[in-house]
């Protein structure tokens, strides 16, 4: 009965179960995390020490250049804060509506809210400008919001409108997730004690989900600060010319533009390029800490209660006005602008003479890189998540848990730049696709680890304990018990990592100018043609967007299906 095979497997199991072997394995995983993810991500910070002289003489002393940097960073953070504020204002009632109301089509509404995440951000950039913005020299535009007021060409407003589409789903998701876990009983108890709906929600439930607010705010801020492809697409379209350092740029677009010139041979830009990346990284990390501390320390200040006014606001027209405004916002500010490119595609005709080889290669490259990055994420991320949640040294787990989030907070354009320098510094040249994949590993890694850590934390320790006392070695307990039970979390993490990788532009172009993934192609297609002063090929860009969106959307549906099954099992 195959005794030989069983013996062979058991002795292998014995080897793997030895403490020394397991320790070495975990050591390797932590080592990989540090050297493959963490150090490359933060490597550019070392330039502060090694290149400080250059920074002083070339950047700090150059008034014009410093103005460019501060304007760009100011625009990045201004937009990020304003967008997060709007997300909170409109996300809270929407999350409330989704969690606390029972209505038919709830899961459809959830899917619709998530749907903008399916569109690659470069596509959102194009779509938002087509709906809201001024696009010089473009004929045949479908009538959108721009036709009412002539459209906006303000970089601030166009980026705010863009980031509403990229961040709003994140905010609603994280608020709804926390709200879902808060026991309705507290609110019921408050209402039975005589509080109106509004008073109960405001004084009892809201203070309980400060952590949800923090998560939502951090996700939105990080996403808005990090975004490159959509920003470059939007700014290119409204400027009506090829972007250069004198265009209105935010931080990530400035990195993209300077990286482009640097790759094209302007090596004198190196200090400025690294300096702006360093600033973006440092400010983002600082912001993460500040937001976390603020939301945990900050108490929602209105302890005072106005019973009659709040009771009046809880009934009749007021809640209906609130819900109406929320859904109007969702439709006009988020959904329609996200998919408006479809209207453009419907009203214009296909471009002649498209290079289909490049088109297909771009798609294959995108999917290939996303698949490879996700595979590496899983290989390293699952053991790391096990170490974080089940490791013997609790403090090490806590530290790793925080460090894992760094690549998510660091703007991906700065991350890509840092990573490119890191490997070139180590003498690795000419493996651009490999380097781009490593960059994608770095910024998608947190998705896998976060989800698996969440799954492991939600899992009753009793299962493993029982499995161990029934004679299972740690590895057997993982493979037979933990792994099947957290598979939905693993899949969710993998799908998030995969879709995030597919839509990414900034990290790709800042690692290498030669790796033309689909989102990079999209940004290239819409660059102004110097002869006609029009976007080069908006229609083909639209086609690429459509393909990427459909694939990503299917992935999101899959994720919803898988996570729903997890709830049923629990």
């Amino acid at each position: 009965m195959g005794q030989g095979g069983t013996d062979w497997r058991r002795s292998l199991l014995d080897v793997f179960s030895r403490r020394g072997v397991r320790g070495t394995g975990y050591g390797l995983v932590v080592g990989f995390f540090i050297f493959l993810v963490l150090l490359p991500t933060l490597f550019v910070l070392s330039y502060l020490f090694t290149g400080w002289n250059d920074i002083q003489t070339v950047v700090l002393a150059d008034r014009g250049r410093m103005d460019i940097i501060w304007n760009a960073i100011g625009l990045s953070f201004g937009v990020a804060f304003f967008v997060t504020f709007l997300d909170l204002i409109f996300g809270l009632p929407l999350a409330w509506f989704i969690v606390r109301r029972n209505f038919r089509g709830k899961s459809l509404l959830n899917t619709i809210i998530d749907s903008p995440l399916a569109v690659p951000t470069a596509g959102l950039g194009i779509s938002v400008v087509l709906f809201w913005g001024v696009i010089p020299n473009l004929a045949n535009r479908p009538a959108g919001a721009w036709s009412l007021f002539g459209g906006t060409s303000s970089p601030f407003w166009i980026l705010v409108l863009l980031h509403l589409t990229t961040t709003f789903p994140y905010m609603v998701r994280s608020l709804a997730a926390i709200l879902d876990e808060i026991d309705l009983e507290y609110e019921t108890a408050a209402r039975i004690s005589g509080a109106s709906k509004l008073t109960a929600a405001r004084t009892i439930t809201l203070p309980m989900f400060r952590s949800g607010l923090a998560t939502g705010a951090i996700l939105c801020l990080a996403k808005a600060l990090s975004e490159t492809g959509g920003v470059m697409a939007a700014l290119t379209l409204i400027s009506g010319r090829v972007l250069d350092e004198n265009s209105a740029l935010n931080g990530t677009a400035l990195i993209g533009v300077w990286k482009g010139s640097y790759d094209a041979g302007t090596s004198a830009l190196l200090p400025a390029l690294t300096f702006v990346s360093v600033l973006m990284i440092l400010f983002s990390l600082l912001l993460l800490v500040v937001v976390k501390v603020l939301t945990l320390k900050f108490h929602i200040p209105w302890k005072k209660v106005w019973p009659s006014a709040e009771a009046r606001l809880s009934k009749g027209a007021a809640p209906r006005v609130r819900d109406g405004a929320t859904f109007f916002f969702l439709a006009i500010m988020v959904l329609v602008p996200s998919f408006f490119i479809a209207a453009y595609m419907a009203t214009s005709s296909p471009t002649q003479g498209v290079d289909w080889g490049m088109f297909t290669n771009g798609l294959l490259l995108s999917f290939g890189i996303a698949a490879a990055a996700t595979a590496v994420d899983l290989l390293l991320g699952i053991p790391l998540a096990v170490l974080i949640t089940r490791g013997k040294f609790k403090r090490l787990g806590g530290i790793l848990d925080t460090l894992v989030n760094i690549p998510y907070i660091v703007p991906s354009a700065a991350l890509g730049l840092s990573l490119g320098f890191f490997y070139r510094n180590m003498g690795i040249r000419g493996f651009d696709i490999l380097l781009v994949t490593l960059a994608h590993v770095a910024f998608t890694f947190p998705f896998v680890v976060r989800n698996v850590v969440g799954g492991m934390e939600g899992l009753d320790r009793g299962y493993e304990d029982t499995a161990r006392t029934l004679g299972a070695r740690p590895f057997q307990a993982f493979r037979r018990i933990i792994f099947p039970l957290i598979k939905p979390s693993i899949l969710a993490g993998a799908i998030m990592a995969f879709t995030r990788s597919i839509g990414e532009t900034g990290a790709t172009i800042s690692v290498s100018g030669n790796v033309q993934t689909a989102p990079v192609l999209i940004v290239n297609y819409i660059k102004q043609d110097p002869s006609t002063l029009r976007p080069r090929d908006l229609y083909t860009a639209g086609l690429l967007i459509a393909v990427l969106s459909i694939v990503t959307f299917v992935a999101i549906l899959l994720m919803r299906f898988v996570t729903r099954r997890r709830r049923k099992n629990a």
Binding site: Q3, Y463, D465, T469, G471, P474, Q476
Partner: protein, 367 residues
Amino acid sequence: MPNILLRGIAKRFDGRIAIDHIDLEVKNGEYMAILGPTGAGKTTLLRMIAGLTQPDEGDVLIGGRDVTKLPPEERGLTYMSQTYSLFPHLSMWENVRFSPEVKGLPPTDTDRLAREMLLLVNLLDRRDAFPRELSGGMQQRTALARALAAGTNVLLLDEPLRALDARLRIALRLSIRKLCKDLGITALHVTHDQEEALLVADRVAILRHGKIEQLGLSRQVYDDPSGPFVAQFLGEADFFLGEVDEVTPERTLLHSKTRHWEARPSKLHPGQDACLAVKSENVRVLKDGEDAINTFEAEVTRRLFLGKFLGFEMTSAETTQPVKVRLRAEEGGRIKEGSKVRLAVEPRNFMVFPIPPGGLAKELEVE
């Protein structure tokens, strides 16, 4: 050779003592219950034996072998948790097969074991069901079958009946004991339910504040408690205070400010402050004109219907605490709230203890 031997085992959590240097011996084939209030350290003790929590000090020996440093799977015992932890993604059949399978038994032996154990708990016909499809009682029985299929001769049971409703609990508690006895298994059964502990175990260990207060046969710990806490924790007891006058081989004589008491013999010495305890079912209500030793008067403040029994709370000049009295329904029928009665305690039912270091009231706190 003792099957489970603990030597000076101790554990602290964040500086708070959970288990305070416990020595304990569970004999081969013995069924022992660990009884204690919530937070006494029962689960911690069990988890340290299982290898799921590492003790700070002391040794754990199973079958004479020091297993203190070994992981759970190498200790040769099985642990059943409060919630059973049936693996939700596996059928009952697969759950019961789990242990022999991971231990590398040949498939035919594994199947045979799983079949035998499911048959033993009368669940063979539900073998393809998943845990969520079964009732609480069936889940409990499957968890037991799974634990037995592990083939170890030491079984640790952490509140195995807690999640069941009262009737089922009563039905299942003896069947666990019988299974263990039939299979010659040494069992350590943790519970906070005194009735369950007294009924199911050969010996009961009473755990409190991480220490064993008393270890003995069920009868012993009930009738001859080691101190006021155990006297009160098992059943219900009334307490009085006094000072020892004389100790003879037959009895202890005491007095308070107002009267004299006669109680069981004790090791106390004359002049020592003492507390007297009597189980509430051993307080007698005297008929009119009847005389006895240790009589005192009381007034009924509450009368509680307990089914077969009537419970009374009375006030008396002899103690500041309400006196609790438990009578069979037919005896207590005539006693109403507000009645004045004469009570008596036979000296052989009157236990005498030294006053505990922190005072009697503190000693009797349960939490």
